[in-house]
């Protein structure tokens, strides 16, 4: 009796606290929007970043932070936050447009050539959806398959149509699970980053005394292959590789 009362009290406390926080972040979000409207981008950015520092996230929050950085001329950071927004809300036309617009200011682009038709096809599908959505789709199909198999086993259904439907469900489960795994591998198992400094030197090794391979500019994205104390070994989209000072880049 005492235990169940305590549980109810705890749930009520959590709900009260979460609603209080929700109200607070929403009002902060709105006030930042007002500052932005009045072209006080510094103050707007300060508030948005304050919300982010409280471990809150949403695609609109990252999008608005990106806009503030863009207005302040920090295009590397603008691209970083647009990419973070894109990760949470792929296919959002506002995010796509602003990201492309910010990238137009990049002095150089390093776009890789996509040769593998399988990964290109997978990218085409998964780029438009979040991992959560794909994972839920795979999960629903899997549950449907399990229930369907249970029913046909229990009721001993037989027949070609029953079989075809079962194979179709199995196929869909395989495809959706494959896509979820691919999305997980590309977006979460592989750490990605972006150059936020205006220019940074890409070195042949982790240290200032190494040769400069080339100069990277803001907005260039890469995958992180290795980390040392102050340097990342990065692989750019055009497959050029080198070490970059970790202070000049941010993880997406």
């Amino acid at each position: 009796m005492f235990k169940s009362t305590l549980q109810v009290l705890l749930i009520l406390m959590v709900l009260a606290l979460s609603s209080a926080y929700g109200f607070n972040t929403d009002s902060l979000f709105n006030s930042a929007g007002n500052y932005y409207q009045n072209q006080d981008y510094d103050e707007a950015l300060k508030i948005y970043l304050e919300i982010e520092q409280k471990s809150y996230e949403s695609a609109p929050l990252y999008f608005n932070i990106g806009n503030c950085f863009f207005k302040k001329g920090k295009l590397g950071y603008a691209i970083l936050y647009y990419l973070r927004a894109q990760k949470l809300s792929p296919g959002d036309p506002d995010v796509e447009t602003n990201l492309e617009f910010a990238r137009m200011f990049m002095p150089t682009r390093m776009e890789g050539i996509k040769i593998n038709p399988v990964t290109t096809f997978f990218d085409l599908i998964v780029d438009s959806y979040t991992l959560t959505l794909i994972a839920w789709a795979a999960s629903v199909l899997f549950i449907l398959l399990m229930l369907y198999l249970s029913v046909i086993m229990f009721l001993q259904w037989r027949g070609l149509v029953i079989k075809i439907f079962a194979y179709l469900l199995i196929f869909l489960v395989f495809v959706s699970s494959g896509l979820a795994t691919y999305k997980y591998r590309t977006d979460y198992m592989t750490e990605k980053g972006v150059i936020v400094a205006d220019e940074t030197r890409i070195l042949s090794g982790p240290g200032e005394d190494n040769d400069v391979e080339f100069v990277g500019v803001f907005g260039l994205t890469f995958t992180i292959e290795k980390e040392t104390d102050n340097y990342y070994l990065v692989l750019f989209e055009n497959k050029r590789k080198g070490w970059v000072l970790s202070g000049d880049v941010e993880k997406i």
């Binding site: 979000f29 809150y56 806009n67 207005k71 001329g73 295009l75 617009f101 200011f105 050539i113 991992l131």
Partner: protein, 597 residues
């Protein structure tokens, strides 16, 4: 994956290269005048992309020809690969005269490329030897030195940043017993660039045959005035000369000769460097000296707004290519301009330094229409004509169309701090006024317990249904299994019947039911028929089925009671019946707990 990209890149490169095939063949001879006992150095260079064949040599029947090997130099300029193959020969004249060496040629892709002709004059012995060499060979005692080092400049007076060639000649008439240790001269007031390869040949000097190694360096003075070139130094272990030896065993000298280390130096040189004339000096002159020309080309002449056009500016010619400044590109109202890349390729033809420098600029059109990238000029001073000259590219006309993407929010005054952006360009889309699903960062759905449980429960359901189905199938197909599974249930049913009979004082029927319950249970468990079975048989079966002794004893006792009651029912009290029922229940519980096989 990387291999595929590499193969693709190479294929693409080869396509680009084949589209830009250009083969050049050149032939040089040095010196152009020699004595009959001297040699001339003939070099044929073939430059181009792709796999180039060996050149066809001209008629050289008036000389003894000795191959000095080949060298290859590969360079990649602006993504295209170019290789230079040098074929070197030493010519030993057979007679005096002036010989015209016809053009060397090469056939590449069904097309013949030819070099220019060169002329070599062969004089009487010693006549072709330069006076400086003859003088340097003489010692203070009037005899010829065994080894000596000579430094020469090809000009005595040059302009700032004009090439002067320093030639160091190491001549030796005795065998070298060690590798020469050479220290080049100090050239602090010059840009220097080694001209390779070193040349090796024989020359008759003052009637003595010397082996000559020639090292050439291109120097570009960095300031005006009388500049000095320091001493070059060379140390080498040489065979001592035995010409004046009176040793009777001198004939073995060369065998036992350990040699002598000699250090030789050149004389310091002076050169007068003139400042560049101030008269007619262009306002934006950047110090380029030599003879150059400039061309430009765009990667496309038709584009859309905000789509980049890359313009390549190529500066080629003779002179110090490293110091050629990039062309001045003025800010344009219609374009945003970014530097993409630059590269240079240095060539040394006939001891003259030159080459190509390439600058790439990215022009991003800000508006639609017929836009013009204006001509770009390059100023340089030509030391041959002693005049300044300006060369220019041609203007490039670009047809710019409106970009298809035009759905940017229509808000005014795009403003990007620190970046130049045209007022006609569109701005970013406005911020989002709704916070969306603003929440504390959540872990990945794949790792949450809810997701795992939700996916796990249907699996358990399927397993449960499968097990149930299998059990059902076995019950219908395996009679022994079905009897075994139902034995307990039936036995309990029979005991319940017995209990009812006990309540109605039907003692004989009660014991008959008890007896049958036990017989049927064991028979069901072992899948045998209970009909016609007597008590001793049942006990034997129980012993064979490894049933514990106390159960067997209890069963034996109960069966005895049942037999006794059936034939003398009146003697059994209600208490005895109750005990018998309890005993039967206990036996069944114990049998249920033990393995019957």
């Amino acid at each position: 994956m990387i291999r595929l990209i590499t193969i693709f890149s190479v294929l693409m490169l080869s396509v680009v290269v084949s589209a830009q095939d250009e083969v050049k063949i050149e032939m040089h001879i040095a010196p152009d005048t020699i004595g009959i006992e001297d040699q001339a150095f003939l070099a044929i260079t073939v430059t181009g992309s792709g796999s180039l064949p060996e050149p066809d040599l001209p008629n050289l029947s008036m000389f003894e020809v000795s191959s000095q090997g080949t060298s290859t130099n590969i360079s990649i300029v602006n993504g295209s690969m170019e290789s230079t193959h040098a074929y070197n020969y030493m010519l030993f004249p057979k007679r005096q005269g002036t010989f015209v060496i016809k053009a060397a040629s090469i056939v590449y892709k069904r097309k013949r490329y030819q070099s220019k002709e060169v002329t070599l004059t062969v004089l009487d012995a010693g006549i072709g030897t330069p006076k400086t060499l003859e003088k340097a060979a003489e010692s203070s005692e009037g005899e010829n030195r065994d080894i000596f080092l000579l430094a020469e400049l090809n000009k005595k007076k040059v302009y700032v940043n004009e090439q002067v060639t320093l030639t160091i000649k190491f001549c030796h008439a005795v065998s070298l017993l060690s590798q020469p240790d050479y220290t080049p001269p100090q050239v602090t007031d010059f840009w220097s660039d080694a001209i390779e390869p070193q040349r090796s040949y024989y020359q008759n000097i003052n009637g003595r045959r010397y082996s000559v190694i020639e090292i050439n360096t291109a120097l570009f003075p960095t300031r005006s005035g009388e500049l000095s070139i320091g001493q070059a130094m060379l140390s080498v272990n040489v065979q001592t000369s035995n010409r004046r030896s009176r040793d009777p065993f001198g004939g073995f000298g060369s065998f036992f000769n350990r040699g002598q280390t000699k250090t030789i130096r050149t004389q310091p040189l002076k050169i007068e460097v003139l400042p560049l004339p101030t008269k007619n000096k262009p306002a934006n002159f950047s110090g380029t000296v030599g003879e150059f020309f400039i061309t430009s080309s765009a990667d496309k002449l038709k584009t859309e707004v905000n789509q980049p056009v890359t313009v390549t500016y190529k500066i080629s010619g003779t002179g110090n290519i490293k110091t050629v400044a990039e062309p001045v590109i003025e800010d344009l109202a219609d374009f945003r301009i970014y530097r993409s890349a630059s590269s240079e390729k240095i060539s040394k033809v006939d001891m003259v330094v030159g080459g190509t420098k390439i600058f790439e600029e990215t022009y991003i059109p800000k508006r639609a229409g017929k836009l013009t990238i204006p001509a770009v000029s390059l100023n340089y001073f030509n030391p041959t004509t002693k005049k300044y000259k300006t060369v220019s590219t041609k203007p490039i006309n670009i047809n710019v169309e409106q970009a298809a993407l035009s759905d940017y929010a229509d808000i005014p005054v795009p403003n990007v701090a620190g970046r130049v952006i045209d007022s006609k360009a569109k701005d970013i889309r406005y911020i989002k006024t709704k916070s969306g699903d603003l929440a504390i960062k959540r872990p990945l759905i794949l790792a949450t317990p809810l997701y795992l449980i939700l996916n796990g429960v249907p699996v358990l359901l399927l397993v449960f249904v499968w097990i149930g189905q299998k059990r059902r199938e076995k019950l219908t197909t395996d009679i022994g299994y079905a009897r075994s599974r139902l034995a307990r249930k039936l036995a309990r049913k029979r005991l319940a019947t017995a209990r009812k009979l006990a309540g109605s004082n039907q003692t004989a029927e009660f014991y008959a039911e008890i007896r049958f319950a036990l017989f049927a249970y064991i028979a069901d468990k072992l899948n045998i028929s209970p009909h016609g079975m007597i008590g001793d048989q049942l006990l034997e079966i129980m012993v064979n089925a490894n049933i514990e002794n106390d159960i067997i004893d209890s069963t034996k006792s109960l069966l005895r009671q049942a037999d006794f009651a059936q034939y003398s029912s009146s003697s059994k009290t209600a208490e005895n019946i109750k005990l018998s029922l309890k005993s039967a229940e206990e036996i069944l519980i114990k049998l249920e707990g033990s393995q019957i096989v």
